[in-house]
Amino acid sequence: MGKFFAVVLVLVAVLSAYPIIGNYFPLPEDISTHGHLIDSQLHDTMLEAGVAFIGAQLVLAYFLFAFTGRKSDAPLKNFPGGAKLMVIAAFLLVGTEVLALGAFGQKAWATVYFTAPKADALQIQSQAEQFAFYFRYPGPDGKFGAIHPDKIDEGNQNYFGLDPANDVDARDDIVSGELVVPVNREVNLMLHAKDFGHSFYVRELRIQQDFVPGLDLAVHFTATKVGKYEIVCTQLCGLGHYNMKAYLNVKSQDDYDKWLKEQSQ
């Protein structure tokens, strides 16, 4: 049975690694400016993890193959180096590699979180609610009207609770169910939660950020390719969580300007 176990372990190692090595589950295309940092970090981590995983399973397989089914008087041996070697190996090999990866991995994190958006980034506000995302553009006056939770009237499509009767800034605000942005232009997306925790996740943008009720959060990004991409909610927010999504619609600058003009009418 020990030999059989060894064979099973080899199969486990090989069959688990195969979809990765064969790239059968490829990352979606990267349409962001910082995504390559995440992708290369993922690639390096996968390489190290792969070596560790396959190595450990194969070593286990070999030891099972060699040291099961032995006679009761077969000599016992100790691994040369003993526990000391294992501790050193753990600290040196694993410790340094792991911490090094962690240290170098900061770059991607820093690019997303420690760099402020440029002063001329396009300001768009996003509201997450059970179970949709809505996006608000400030309109020609460049100002966002105030949000009044008590004025929310969804049947009338006033999702943000704007008060155009009394609030001049709100009159030209544009509310859309799609996040429409121009290509190659930095966007600063402000995140407002209407009711519960939600999260903004666009795979192709390599961006994920929770909406937290009561907190003013924001993410900034630059989309580098025209197209339609899915925004999905990744923070459990109630029964409709699975169906909470919107589309990121990246347009050329001209098409974006045209769209913006149409919304203002």
């Binding site: 040291f67 009761s72 016992l76 100790n78 190996a89 907190l215």
Partner: protein, 592 residues
């Protein structure tokens, strides 16, 4: 052969009468079995829930006949509603993490064997011990009530993030009484766990037999001891968190709810609270909790491994110190569940480093287990198969943690099936393998009978291969961004991968069915299993020096004296290639 010291110390009187013997027993062994029985009920319930979830995920519009009997509102005409899926998901997680993974490896086996392995007659506080089991049972009962109330169980996941879990019924179905029952149940569970942890710690420190120094305790005893230290601090934080949640829900407080929230078209009458506060409190408990789930299995597996390979580990001391460092570091990493939660991004980096550092003791343990197998005489029994399988699973599950420990990668992988695959492999499989191994190993001691080895081995092979088939694909799905906690996958990008979910469901159903082999084996062998001698595995620790099953006071009227550590294998002993801990004989190396 077994030497004793003078005056035996009686912790409690011998049990009289049916109720005292079998129900409200003060005997740690009965209490251990009661915890185990509760864990068995919980694990089969949890598994059944996971079957329903997996079937619904791949066939969302299917009529599951009979489901409407379980919940008229949750499954009209047998078709599961989206909220009922989330109810099942919440109950699955809650049952498995609390009532299985904290109960079985820790409370069940720890209660049964810790006092015996240190040479004591019982736990330090037998009455507390009985209370801790029945309080756990009460917690389980309160939780299960959520299934029978009209609105059903809560839908916010076992993590019950606020404000979804705090505002009450406006959050959705099940969030009125269902969520309150959850909060009350877990608060009661915390009290039970605190009582249990106190007992373990006091017993280990005070009731060790003569000669049983701390360093001579078996590795599983060490694991239970370290786990109870972790549990004491962790549950002490979850308890007030649950109380604050209950206050928010029923007393109008706003610990976790900020102002201006509109749900169900109603402005919520709260202000000033912080949703992140709940996450910090919960994960300050939640991360140590996952180590509470795995450490006892690490100890049990080490103990069984040594016995079945007839050779000590390369260094028991290093294993002990590694387990201690894992316990210590487990308190510094909770923020890795919150990298993209909106907390200060600098905090995320700060949490990342201890998380990566925990890899070091985890690697030390793995290398020592692996390295010890070299040159051994490994005997494959059902117990040792699961112990060795644990190593494979721990490697697989632990390595995916390495990805998630890095905030930059977590930006992409958070909230995806990559996380689900990771924690199922380490908790749902590896930790459970420790429980299986312990069951096969200690069953002869607890009942005086062997479990059937053929069925046991079949159970192992189906489970080992099956769990790889279920949980390894989850990592691939995570890489393409498959979001978790979705009742079905309606997004465009998921359509090319639905076939993989179908395969996983089939694997889950088959692997789950195999667990009934285990259940049958346990029940049948209890009554009809082949009789087992006192020490069927030729093991060195003290539990193998007493009859099977043990008398109510473990060692009878004697108080054992310990002369050796429990790793004397591969030596020329009077009984074979080992020397028991309480045997005064000198250790003679076997000369090779």
């Amino acid at each position: 052969m077994h030497e004793t010291s003078v005056e035996p110390v009686h912790v409690h009187a011998p049990p009289q009468g049916f109720w005292r013997k079998h129900v409200f027993s003060l005997d740690h062994k009965v209490i251990g079995k009661q915890y185990y029985a509760l864990a068995l009920v919980a694990v089969f319930t949890g598994m059944f829930l996971s079957w329903l979830m997996r079937i619904h995920m791949v066939w969302p519009d299917a009529k599951i006949h009979g489901l409407e009997l379980l919940s008229k509102n949750g499954a009209p005409g047998g078709v599961m509603t989206p909220e009922y899926y989330l109810s099942l998901l919440t109950m699955h997680g809650t049952l498995m993490v609390f009532f299985v993974l904290t109960n079985a490896p820790f409370a069940a086996f720890g209660n049964y064997f810790l006092p015996i392995q240190i040479g004591a007659e019982d736990m330090a506080f037998p009455r507390f011990n009985m209370m801790s089991f029945w309080t756990t049972f009460l917690a389980w009962f309160v939780l299960m009530l959520a299934f029978v109330i009209p609105d059903g169980p809560p839908i916010a996941g076992w993590t019950e993030y606020t404000p979804l879990s705090a505002v009450g019924r406006d959050a959705g179905p099940g969030m009125q009484w269902g969520a309150s029952l959850w909060g009350i149940s877990i608060a009661i569970f915390c009290i039970a766990s605190l009582l249990g942890a106190l007992n373990f710690i006091a017993t280990t420190l005070d009731l060790r037999a003569k000669g049983m120094t701390l360093m001579r305790m078996p590795l599983c005893t060490w694991a239970w001891f370290i786990t109870s230290c972790i549990a004491l601090l962790a549950f002490a934080v979850l308890l007030p968190a649950c109380i604050l949640l209950i206050l928010d829900r029923h007393a109008g407080t706003s610990f976790f709810i900020p102002g201006g929230l509109v749900a169900s078209d109603r402005l919520q009458p709260h202000s000033g609270g912080s949703p992140l506060l709940w996450q910090h409190l919960f994960w300050f408990f939640g991360h140590p909790e996952v180590y509470i789930a795995i450490l006892p299995s690490m100890g049990i597996v080490s103990h069984i491994l040594i016995n079945s390979m007839r050779k000590p580990l390369l260094s028991a001391k290093v294993v002990i110190y590694s387990m201690m460092s894992i316990g210590f570091l487990s308190y510094m990493v909770w923020g890795h569940h919150m990298f993209v939660s909106g907390m200060n991004p600098l905090s995320s980096l700060t949490f990342s480093f201890p998380t990566l550092t925990i890899t070091i003791p985890a690697t030390i343990l793995t290398l020592i287990w692996l390295g010890s197998l070299y040159g051994a005489r490994i005997q494959l029994t059902s117990a040792s198969l699961f112990a060795i399988g644990f190593i494979s699973m721990f490697v697989s599950g632990g390595i995916s943690g390495f990805f998630l420990a890095q905030p930059s990668l977590d930006i992409y992988l958070h909230g995806t099936y990559f996380v689900v695959g990771h924690f199922h492999m380490v908790m749902g499989v590896a930790s459970l393998f420790g429980v299986f191994a312990g069951t096969y190993f200690w069953f002869p001691k607890m009942t005086g009978r062997y479990m059937n080895e053929t069925i046991g081995k079949l159970h192992f092979w189906i489970t080992f291969i099956g769990t790889y088939l279920i949980f390894m694909p989850m990592h691939y799905l995570g890489l393409i961004g498959n979001v978790r906690r979705y009742q079905s996958f309606v997004d465009d990008y998921m359509s090319p991968y639905l076939w993989l979910h179908k395969d996983m469901t089939v694997a889950a159903l088959i692997t789950g069915a195999a667990q009934f082999l285990f259940l049958y084996n346990v029940i049948y062998s209890r009554f009809k299993g082949a009789p087992a001698p006192e020490n069927p595995w030729n093991c060195t620790s003290l539990e193998w020096s007493i009859p099977s099953p043990p008398p109510w006071n473990n060692f009878g009227d004697r108080h054992p004296i310990v002369y050796h550590d429990p790793y004397q294998y591969g030596v020329k002993g009077s009984q074979g290639d080992f020397v028991m801990q309480d045997s005064p004989e000198q250790i003679i190396a076997s000369g090779d």
